[in-house]
């Protein structure tokens, strides 16, 4: 459903958009999410996934979330099996090409325990972009003729009033909450991401509330030295949380590659036992640890070291 413009304006107008510090704990930040909210996650697949935020969402036992993301990997399994969401909106859903089709995703969708609403990758991106631009739709020439289009409620076709060409109108998506992870962010919420941008900028512009976890909190002075490196301005952001290694076992560009041995371990468990394997994983790695740091401490140090060395080698040239 495309939200009415007047409602979207009212929500943004109520936001405190002044230049103010908004650094808080992971728990405080995730408290901003209500049951039933539409939560959009930044990054793509197993890259720049806001894993710490998702981990905390599950621990706080959020319910009935709608979860959307460019491409969903293992974090999607965790959200389904923990029953944080019964409705996932994405374009591709499995751990990764070499790991096969997620048994968790298959179980929940095939048994109709959850809905996987499938959009093409670009049209999902255009949904966030229209939301960020404050317009109800963006026209495109994709999705036409396929069986994807008729299964989607909100999409419409039109004949272009300028050219007479047939177009698909991709509806705006304005999530209640965006969760994003970045390498650098200042205390006010100015985000300076590195490398692959994915859809983060449009998601931040489309959401009512934006939660940013960051590898490090940099000074506003550093931001102002290179304002052309800022990808998300402070007034869109409502919470800033410093979470080093906040994407593990997924990767963060130029900081660390995935912890592939942990990923292999998870996938083996999930593909072997299905949802029960994921429950086992949740108990051990999400519910049991006292903190995100305690979760990190359960990983193999040498694996994390290699992931870090490989990840930051981007700048070795």
């Amino acid at each position: 459903m495309v939200r009415p413009y007047a409602e979207l304006r009212e929500v943004i107008e109520k936001k405190d958009r002044g230049l103010r510090e908004k650094v808080m704990s992971l728990t405080e930040a995730i408290n901003l999410i209500q049951d039933g909210d539409h939560v959009a996650a930044g990054g793509c697949h197993y890259s720049r996934t806001p894993m710490a935020a998702i981990w905390e969402i599950i621990r706080q036992k959020k319910k009935d979330l709608v979860y959307s993301r460019s491409i969903s990997s293992t974090e999607g399994d965790l959200l389904l099996v923990s029953e944080a969401t019964k409705h996932v909106i994405t374009s591709w859903f499995s751990p990764g090409v070499t790991w096969g089709v997620s048994r968790a995703m298959r179980h929940y969708t095939q048994e109709k325990l959850a809905e996987y609403e499938e959009w093409s990758h670009m049209s999902l991106g255009l949904r966030y972009r229209a939301g960020a631009m404050g317009i109800p739709f963006i026209p495109t020439r994709s999705m036409l003729g396929s069986d994807l289009l008729p299964r989607l409620k909100d999409i419409k076709e039109m004949t272009c009033p300028f050219t007479g060409e047939k177009l698909a109108l991709i509806p705006a998506l304005n999530p209640e909450v965006a969760i994003l992870h970045t390498q650098r962010c200042d205390p006010y919420g100015n985000v300076q991401s590195e490398g692959l941008p994915f859809m983060d900028e449009d998601i931040a512009g489309a959401a009512d509330t934006v939660i940013v976890t960051t590898e490090r909190i940099i000074s506003n002075d550093q931001v102002r030295r290179q304002p052309d490196q800022t990808s998300i301005p402070f007034f869109k952001v409502d919470a800033v949380v410093e979470v080093p290694y906040g994407c593990l076992p997924h990767e963060c560009y130029a900081a660390y590659e995935p912890d592939f041995s942990h990923m292999d371990y998870y996938v083996k468990l999930m593909m072997g036992k299905g949802p029960d394997g994921v429950k086992e994983y949740l108990d051990k790695y999400v519910y049991a640890p006292d903190s995100w740091e305690d979760f990190l401490a359960m990983l193999n140090f040498k694996d994390v070291l290699r992931a870090t060395t490989d990840g930051r080698s981007v700048y070795n040239d």
Binding site: S47, Y116, G125, L126, S142, D147, E257
Partner: protein, 260 residues
């Protein structure tokens, strides 16, 4: 296949690489498409530019580190540009991309691909991962290439679900649907190269690979494949092609012999 010098996956990779012309731009998916693009660069197409869905233009792919996903940092290594997913996909809508190179789980006689549902979409036997950017690539890139293993269960008369549009119901149905650019150009399998009839838009045999037969093609195809009067053959993979291919994928993560 009788030839012992290479397996069926390696044959598909080599034949796919040969299709890619130098100086062109190819939108490559993970797995077989990626490995074929890199092989083409090392052989005859050093100026072939690879685009990835993750938001990468013209990366340098480290032979020993083929990324298992095109949405991660190793796929961005030494790229000319990284940009948002939406923007890299929009490059195709603008017409910059010559080839869209896809793999496929299921294809039909009109080149439509299914990567969403096996069986009834409302009651699927298998829920597949989905389209990713495939629908956008097949709707917008100038020429679509599909590389797959040739099996009856994969080559069906009508796909269970059109995730990725080929020529839809044939004839001018693709254009009528509003897809006025692009279209599926070639299907590369371990048996041969296949194109589409300009009128009916039905799949037709272009060339057989050495050792493959028309009977074999017909056996392994679930619809009536158009067969030309005169059968042409492709050139056997060269030692050079196979040597480079195996450097790219020493553990055969992408080019292992397909089990049926």
């Amino acid at each position: 296949m009788t030839n012992e010098a290479y397996n069926t996956a390696e044959l598909v990779a080599v034949m796919s690489a040969r299709v890619l012309e130098d100086g062109k731009i190819v939108f490559g998916g993970a797995g077989m498409p990626l490995i074929s693009c890199v092989l083409a660069q090392k052989m005859h197409a050093p100026r072939l530019t690879i685009l990835f869905e993750g938001g990468v233009i013209g990366p340098h792919i480290d032979p020993k580190k083929l990324p298992p996903s095109t949405n991660e940092q190793r796929a961005a290594r030494r790229g000319n540009m990284v940009l948002s997913i939406t923007d890299v996909l929009l490059l195709q809508q603008r017409g910059y991309v010559d080839y869209g190179f896809l793999g496929g789980a299921q294809i039909d006689q009109y080149g439509n691909l299914n990567s969403s549902f096996i069986g009834d979409p409302d009651n699927p036997k298998v829920r597949l991962p989905g389209t990713g950017g495939a629908n956008d690539i097949a709707s917008l890139a100038s020429k679509i290439l599909v590389a797959m293993h040739h099996e009856k269960r994969r080559f069906v008369e009508k796909v269970d679900f059109i995730t990725t549009p080929g020529y839809l119901q044939g004839g001018d149905t693709r254009e009528k649907a509003g897809l006025i650019a692009g279209g599926i150009h070639q299907v590369i399998t371990h048996l041969g190269l296949f194109g589409f009839d300009p009128q009916s838009r039905k799949m037709s045999l272009q060339k057989l690979h050495p050792g493959a037969t028309v009977d074999e093609v017909e056996e392994r195809t679930g619809f009536e494949m158009l067969i030309p009067d005169q059968i042409l053959y492709t050139e056997e993979p060269t030692a050079e092609e196979l040597r480079i291919l195996r450097e790219l994928d020493p553990d055969q993560r992408y080019t292992a012999a397909v089990e049926e």
